[in-house]
Amino acid sequence: MSLLAAMRKLWHSIAPRTPSDVEQEFRSTLDAYQADLIRLGLPEEQARRKARIDLGQPAAQPERYRAAIGLGFFDESGGDIRYGLRALCRNRGFAAVAMFSLALGIGATTAMFSLIYAVLLHPFPYAGADRITNPIMIDDQHPDGFWYFELSKPQLDEMCLAAPVDSVLGFNNAHLEISNDGLPQDISGIYLTENAETFFGVRPLFGRMIEPLDAGHPVVVLNYRFWQRRFGSDPRVIGRTLEMDHAAYAIIGVMPRSFAFNDIAGIGDVYLPASLLQAVANGPAPSFLPWIKLRPHVTVAAANAALEPIVREIRKQHSGVSAWHLALQPIILPYQQNLGRTLALLLGGVALLLIIGCANCSILLLARGRTRQHELAIRTAIGASRWRIVRQLLVEALVISCTGTVLGVAASYWLARLPLLLSPNSFPAESFIRINASVLAFSVALALFSGILFGLAPALRLSRNDPARALPGRQAGVVAVPGRHRWSVLIAAQVALTLLLMATAGTAIRGFLRLTQMPLGYDPANVMQLGIELHVHNPAEWSRLQSREARAAYIEQIRQKIASVPRVSTVAVGIDATLPDADIQSSFIVDGGGAGEQPQARVMLVDQRYFAALRIPLLQGRVWNADENSRGDFVAVVNHAFSTRYLSPSQAMGRQLRIPGLTGHARYQVVSAQSTGWRQIVGVVGDARNDGVDQPIVPAIYIPYTAALQSWAQFLVRTQGDPLTCLHSIRGAIVSIASDQQISDSVSAFNGTFTLSEAIERGA
């Protein structure tokens, strides 16, 4: 209501008098004049006529008023728009074709822009997101290799004092289980240092974020999706409790949908104060991955230089690679690197589509212009200036483009979601496509731009008409000659652009088809991965499982239990060895290899059933047996790529290799007695995609997983029929022998539960 009043006030200041007021005043003058004329002796009807001839029509007066106070432009444009709309209604076929071709181009371009906006320009909801960086250490010898590092609470505080640093957030994740609800359910908890509220600056949907006062208190903040899933989006959830790992936590807040922290530790289902993260039984104090928010106007290079000495000092005690340098990565960087080119290419493609649409409209307008020459000639003849006619034609073009834009923006609302639906894991989880002010401004600009682009040429062309030639009587001559050249140019351009677009699309589709038909080297059908996490924060349980033998026995016990479930045919164990994108590179030494050389290969920690479960063929020799598997040492199997690259294929059997990096210095890791010692190659297996579906297969060494155990493991379960239908009975089977052992639920996490076919779709 107040808005309406404000608009009325604004309008009043622009045009103080209403049309009826102006008309009324004019009528009073007209009446007075008419009365005078009658007094002079004219008959009434004649006086009325003369008064109107001398002074003008009352109905025309408001328009004259607006013209006098400088609003005539609006009248004329309004008339142009009304006329344009009427003309479009008369030519429905023409209008439909023009609008549709534009709506397609504008819709696709707007969709791409909103995607780029959401993914690359403004993907994170955090305050000062462009200043948040992710510190990594880059290996000087292998610049591709980098690793995250953890800092203790005092080290985080020390980092905070550095000049270029605004604030530092520490976080770490842990698998928790909801313990009061039938089968144990795995959830991912992220512990955040208590400055989380100010660091993120994201307003919670309900309640509040973790604050300094929460230190030490059992409180929990929920992720949006977890809240939806677990609490059915109940807004009264604040103040209730959530039981995790047999302890009660008070729910203090729910984060909004756009908050999905984060892509390194995995998206948390719940967020907890860092002070609750217990030290591992008998282990060092808990440590945290840092996110560093820089002060405004500090460059990343300057911050790198300032922080590197501090990190060097902190990391002094740690062994490992000595030649490294620090790099602060803006959190958007990985996405820019992975998606930037693809999105730019897509934007280019849809821009082409838009230009084709514009060319199409130009041609249509020109073609229609032929039939309108007569009308335009009359307008010129009765005094319309060329500018006036150009304006009129441009307004008509803009009416088309604006209508096209409205349709296009409506369509883009769905189009923009498409890439996210097709490939959800390639985008930051925070990006949430919405039509916002920037996107709308972009499409309005696009509408004006395209309207002028396709309307200008026909407008200039048609307004150049010589009325004398176009008017009837002299129309017998040839009329169409002057425009023909431009027509051909437009049509040729349109056809060329269409061919270009089709060729690009064709190449892309062929690439995609090639990808889907690529031989994988293994059979993902009816296989799923099940991840388990051991409870490192539970002192009683952890001390029981800390030794290598006990942990291996525990894993084997669960494996056997899963294998006993009906319809399960094979169960294998792997540690981060799930294809098609398994594990990281390690260097190794092969007997008789050069001293300075540091060859690299994938080291796959698996058991002897792995090859059968994934149907990877054995080419030479044998796979290790059960005894060798539990010992972990002395044996290895390599893939075909390894034997051709580093060994001569015929003499691969019996050669020796060792993996110096298998030392077990990582937290929670235990290794076998001779884990870094010499291993004999007992077999060669076929190549299976191990570096992503679209990448060449890299050399791989398979060794018994008991050589280096982690606090987690994955089971690869081959079943008869859809593996997910067995999930419930498998869970029940696991709980029957280990009542608290949950399996990881998350589909997206590395250690989650998913079918291998899903993993391929994600990777493709």
């Binding site: 005043e25 004019f26 009073s28 003058t29 007075a32 009365a35 003008g56 004259r64 006098a68």
Partner: protein
């Protein structure tokens, strides 16, 4: 009736200001007043007359108010505002000045010939 005179551009507005300065008038009254002062010699293009009034009101030099005319009809009466008074004064001075200069030049030429 003497020979009609065509108004130079912009002078109509000055004449309206002058007419209104002599007392509150409605639109038709202004028209009559101008014709009366000029001895019926000025032919005002009807279209431009109201355009000029709208423009003067927009600039705040005259102010219109609804009232009763002499024969009990409703009419809009215009009066000069303070800004209008100043404007009329300035315009008058400028016009007389210019007319004197132009007349001086023209007269001189006639003398010399």
């Amino acid at each position: 009736m003497t020979k009609p005179v065509e108004l130079p551009q912009g002078t109509l507005e000055m004449l309206i200001l002058k007419a209104v300065s002599l007392g509150q008038l409605h639109g038709y009254g202004i028209l009559l007043r101008i014709q009366q002062i000029s001895g019926e010699r000025l032919e005002i293009l009807q279209g431009s007359f109201y355009t000029a009034i709208y423009r003067l009101e927009r600039r705040g030099w005259i102010k219109g108010e609804w009232g009763e005319s002499e024969n009990n009809r409703r009419a809009r009466f215009y009066s000069l505002t303070a800004a209008g008074t100043r404007q009329l004064k300035a315009e008058t001075a400028k016009w007389i000045d210019m007319a004197a200069v132009v007349a001086g030049i023209l007269n001189k030429k006639t003398d010399e010939r």
